[in-house]
Symmetry: C3
Subunit: 356 residues, 3 copies
């Protein structure tokens, strides 16, 4: 990774609202872990487990907590803050911004359709394809091999990583990040069974709308809605992981988080601020209430009406009850044997009582 | 979406075998939902729930059923048919055809290998790659970033969406649609364990054959067969959704439908007219009978010999029996307690009977 | 497939350490199955079930075992070896090598960044993208539409199939094969919940390291580690299938095999020589011991400390015990009925004993 930042320790402390102990004039050009840091780099100490490393680190500066009292000499300058991890995260973000604002301009060959308008400060990578009647905002980055179909709209500050594929008519808001290989707007899976056993394709003429501040992981697929004028909708602040399936006409409520390899079937509406763990599957035409938490690999076959539930299972129900049932499941052979023993005893008991 | 069709209401009625009530000369250039339609657009009324909209719609025409009797004035012209939804679908299809037949010609740069033959009326998008010794039929659309390896054959009217990847030797029939990012013909997962714990790669030299009228969703993967001369086969009329895994030497019987994220392991044969729901997993070397219906997330570890079964579970068995067992599963802690109660009562009972 | 090899039967026998019975001078240009082989091709007979085909095959040569005694006339020349299947595999490998060594040179247009060094005997397909500060070894094949971000390192003899996507900073060793559409180094799924219900993106600054002799299937995603200096690590000899999710900071131990659609959550370490079947899901921050075998679709929610276990279930436990419990699960309605019967009998029994 190239060294693209260079600040003095004093400048970084000012950025973090921290206090410097030691030489504030040394220059920092990179972030690192305390055990790996080299001269010119800055690290942090948050977990006491790592305290020993601060006495041997080669870092030029270490961000520490107000509560930290060195037991030995520390050669690094210290930046004293309230929460070292959180401060380090701020630096990471700054660093990240500097990194990602590096890429601008147009690499050739790239393809640009007609009647397309593009904002300021754009990156268009080599072999990127932008169709006709497209509208793209400012500070957008379109990496190599990304495909933007006709009639697409993209807001400001959005990043399409390499090989992102947006079918015609897709709409994406501001500050979104779409990771590599993800497909948005492919045909919904709609086929009408015919008398002879074949299926007729139901044309899929809607689109996908992705609101602001949405992140979508790699190789995920989001299908378009069926009818013209309808949309599959991903509301603002939603975070989708890798390899997720979002079927036609689905709506994901704002700030909902969905982990990798989950699948949502057609026309299902997921509420706001919900969390779906990995490999969850949700049937079609359901409504899932806000603040629902669904455990990994669960299968959901009915709507969830009450907010704030935590569920698990196949099909899923209350997570605590699932684990209670599952504890008995593990002992089912034993339980079966106990039942047999009882039956035998009952038989022995009944024999005398019935005979006389 | 551009306005690419323009017909009079009378022309559309003729196309649908319907009767016009009102002005048949107005022009229609777009399809829409009855609640959203604008002048120049046509909508339909099928579900009585939506009847109110017909009295306020701005649509120039509405397709209605023979049974429809207006309760108020309707400003739109009516096209009276037997089944309004089905008629609307016919229009959608016509519209879709007009849309997709728009794209023809070659965008540059694109890559074309040697000894390759290509039919009439082709679309080859920018950055599409077609290798050597390839045969492509008429009316084929190859979208940007699609990859067609050497020795591939593609029939007529087939669409490869953006980023489709066909390894060398793949064969695809007529009227197929392959969605974005799908990989066809990648190496089967074959490795021979060695004495030292490492694995030796078993070369995968077969190919994939996809027959006519097949649709494959986005980011699906279909591996090639292992031996030269063998093929992984997707029979005619099969519909595969997104993110599906089809391993080497699998065969999917005709008109079978497989939903998203399902996975079929190596050498398994799925029968005809079967339906596999989402996230189903099927073990290797099995045979699944025709007309089998497999519930979402089911795991199949044994062949299914009898046709027409509906199964569910992990591993799967009869779906009704699964739900019966699952109903008891949910109450297992209670059942366990009832058993304990009985054991206690039995102990109490036996004590007196044994003592004397 | 083009005919790219041509050897005499005698030359092939020498390659395999076998003995020729018949005409050793005929020329072989292709491998085939015994039932399909044509003149000029070589097949093998290993499974006695296929013996009949040897009397009718058109193959010019058949590899047979020392134990094979023909019952009728065989027109093909025989190559007698100890293990015909294994010998045929050797030929397949040779053939495969010849095939894959075919592709060399640079197809245009292709993109090459600055300060990038590339070894000898390279294939760079059309529309491939190689960024800046990249180091690539000898005999590497980079297929069309592959994307190699900045600061990537790739060893010798590695193959990146079409549409492979390597984010900046990825490191790949020698003799690796990455299949089409696979994404390596995308952002880990890390978001910090905020008081207002939104999520803040945690910058993902680590990378992915893939050691030697690793194979990764198609459309798989491997996320980068979170902190700069950290890596998601795939150890030497690992074999990953298609559509797998490997989250940030995961480590997969050497020679471990993972089947399609499995998902490993963040920071989990999988041991060496383990086998994960298809659609397995593993929670985050776990440690899985060496030589663990995990059945298809299992969910793993706790670390596995003891080596050599075979587990199954959701959550998973010992595979034999799982099947024992599952056998009872299938009969739960019956078990429930037996319990009711006992309760009723107990009630009848107790009535007389309580009354007096």
């Amino acid at each position: 990774m190239p060294e693209i930042m260079e600040f003095t320790i004093q400048q970084i402390a000012a950025m973090l609202g921290g206090e410097v102990k030691g030489d504030g004039n040394a220059k920092i050009n990179m972030l690192a872990k305390i055990q790996d840091a080299k001269p010119g780099q800055i690290a942090f100490l948050s977990n006491p487990k790592y305290e020993n490393f601060i006495y041997t680190t080669q870092a030029s500066a270490v961000i520490v907590s107000k509560d930290f009292v060195p037991k030995k000499d520390v050669s690094a300058a210290l930046i004293v803050v309230t929460d070292p991890y959180s401060s380090f995260t701020v630096l990471l973000e700054e660093y990240h911004k500097m990194m990602s604002f590096q890429k601008t301009g147009v690499e050739e060959p790239s393809f640009l359709g007609s009647k397309t308008t593009i904002g300021k400060n754009i990156y268009r990578g080599a072999f990127s394809y932008i169709g006709s009647n497209v509208k793209i905002g400012d500070n957008v980055k379109i990496y190599p091999h990304a495909y933007v179909g006709d009639d697409v709209e993209i807001g400001n500050n959005t990043i399409l990583h390499t090989g992102t594929k947006l079918y015609s008519g897709t709409k994406i808001g501001n500050n979104c990040t779409i990771h590599a290989g993800t497909v948005i707007g492919s045909d919904g899976f709609g086929f009408a069974p015919q008398a002879d056993g074949t299926y007729k394709t139901i044309p899929q003429l809607g689109n996908v709308i992705i609101e602001d501040n949405v992140t979508v992981g790699g190789n995920t697929v989001i299908d378009c809605a069926t009818l013209f004028g309808d949309a599959t909708i991903i509301r603002q602040g939603v975070k989708l992981d890798n390899l997720i399936q979002i079927a036609h006409n689905v709506e994901i409520g704002k700030n909902t988080v969905i982990a990798a390899q989950a699948g949502i079937s057609g026309s299902t509406k997921i509420g706001e601020n919900s969390v779906l763990a990995g490999q969850v599957g949700i049937a079609g035409h359901l409504v899932i209430a806000n603040n629902t938490s669904i455990g990994a690999q669960s299968g959901i076959s009915k709507s969830i009406k009450e907010e704030g539930q935590k569920i698990l299972g196949y099909p899923a129900f209350d997570i605590k009850e699932y684990f209670r049932s599952y504890a008995v499941f593990k002992n089912l052979p034993d339980l079966n044997q106990r039942l047999r023993d009882l039956e035998k005893k009952m038989e022995e008991l009944k024999l005398p009582t019935e005979k006389p």
